[in-house]
Amino acid sequence: MAKITLSKLRHSYYPNPKTLDDYALKEIDLDWTDGGAYALLGPSGCGKSTLLNIISGLLVPSEGRILFDGQDVTELPPDKRNIAQVFQFPVIYDTMTVYDNLAFPLRNRGRDEATVRERVTAIAEMLELSDLLDRKAAHLSPDNKQKISMGRGLVRQDVNVVMFDEPLTVIDPHLKWKLRSKLKELHQRVRATMIYVTHDQTEALTFADQVVVMQEGEVVQIGTPVELFDRPAHTFVGHFIGSPGMNILPAEVSDGVARFAGQAIPLEGPITAAPGARTEIGIRPEFVSLGQFGLPATVTKVSDVGRHTVVECEVAGSRVNAIVSGPGPKKGAIVQLEFRRDQTRLYADGWLASEAAEGAA
């Protein structure tokens, strides 16, 4: 168990990176508290796996350091770091039984057979693999194979961190849900730090206490699921989290007032944007309602998604989504959009640039 610190971490897969674009990771400073359940969320190619492989020691970063409880482990190989990692596609040792597969990481570290038996039995129990222990692993279904991979990650008791790199990709949807709750439960039981990589927001939000959102090799925001939803620090987070994501509307700012489509839009609080920045208004569809006053808009699409209706409108060439309960208006109808003031934020060059008003929240 340890606190993991990433300090000024950069990584490029090229031997001589020149521009910033050559870096798969661009300067990351991050602390992972001991015992936390983290999700690492971001679109494909943003560097999630790269970051995990650096923490586990499969990759040595081009620049920067990794500290476990303040101790520099940057150059240490994986087996010296006391970490566990589970990969996207199941890795099993075909010729071994399920039992031997689970015992493998322990035996390689010279644990005695009594300990091995105890740990393997316990893990098999948790993952519902007990009945399969004597079977050859080669002929099992993909989800059982992935359970074995996860089991090998969880079987060692003293690890600093267990990392999962999109472990549920190959699993059937209903089992996915089950395994995810299982992992959450396991985390509460073993209390090891867990980092769970995914590009699926539901997965991230249900598993984690803290979500780390990445984009193009950078960490854009760290926070609880609620924080990410309420106050996205970057338009990317607003857009990426939520379904549909946050509405991002081009805005002009003058004299402390933000205007969109020629109308002044009241914001949550004072603007902190530097002059000259590209400014946008951000508001989640959940806080856009159809009323009598407000922005005139044309309805372009109405989708009933069960619990509520998503109304897609067009205002001055921009698309604005609103979530309403009950049946929505007809397509082509003219409606008035009202933005809930305390949820209307300003972004400058992508980053949050308005403050919550005093006494609000």
Partner: protein, 287 residues
Amino acid sequence: MKTENQKAWFFVLPVLLLVAFNALIPMMTVVNYSVQETFGDNVFFWQGLDWFEQILRSDRFHAALGRQFLFTFLILIIEVPLGIAIALSMPRKGIWVPVCLVLMALPMLIPWNVVGAMWNIFTLPDIGLLGYFLNHVMGIDYDMTQDPLAAWITIVTMDVWHWTSLVVLLSYAGLVSIPDAYYQAAKIDGASNWAVFRFIQLPKMKTVLTIAILLRFMDSFNIYTEPFVMTGGGPGNSTTLLSIDLVKIALGQFDLGPAAAMSLIYFAITLLVSWLFYTLMTKDDLN
């Protein structure tokens, strides 16, 4: 419900015809010879299984069969581990991959009789590069036309040179099909290099290795051209392998009956060993 359709047979027919004309019918003529005796003029006498009995009891056949098994055993025990070792040390990515592959494939592209002739010249004691070097630089008495041991070392070395590449290429194909995640997981699990080989690489190479060994077994068990060109079965009978002996009986002595019986026995042994080996290697995969 499956609907049965007899039309399928029609599509198999061309292949059946091909196999019939290039394998079954020639083989039947051999069967025909093996149970008859002839003194020429196309006059045949019924002989029953006498030839088979005679061959199976003959010391000459036992000796040739023994030499044949020894030869096949030696080349397998050298080529398979060596081939795996070379495949393991070849680069998996980068510009050297095609270079290595071409270098490896080269020996296999050379025709059998040319290989024989090359090695024959290569090992000539006074003018061959290797022969001269061994005799006149190293001072080792080496002449494969005189010394049975030298002859054996030469044909085994030649076969290793000619065919190890096959094992290399097949093993390599097995190796490159292993996803990186396996190696990464093994590192995380703290596996030693030996464990990586034993539990990841070897199992993934098993299928291709089975095929490689099978091919090398059949091919070396039936080897004819190279030893014929190089040693002609000598010195004495020391390198007279089964096929060389067979040709001596059939074409040298023109004993068609015994030769036919011998070739059927020869065929049966090849088939039996291949079948046994394949069944043993694949029995795990079936359940």
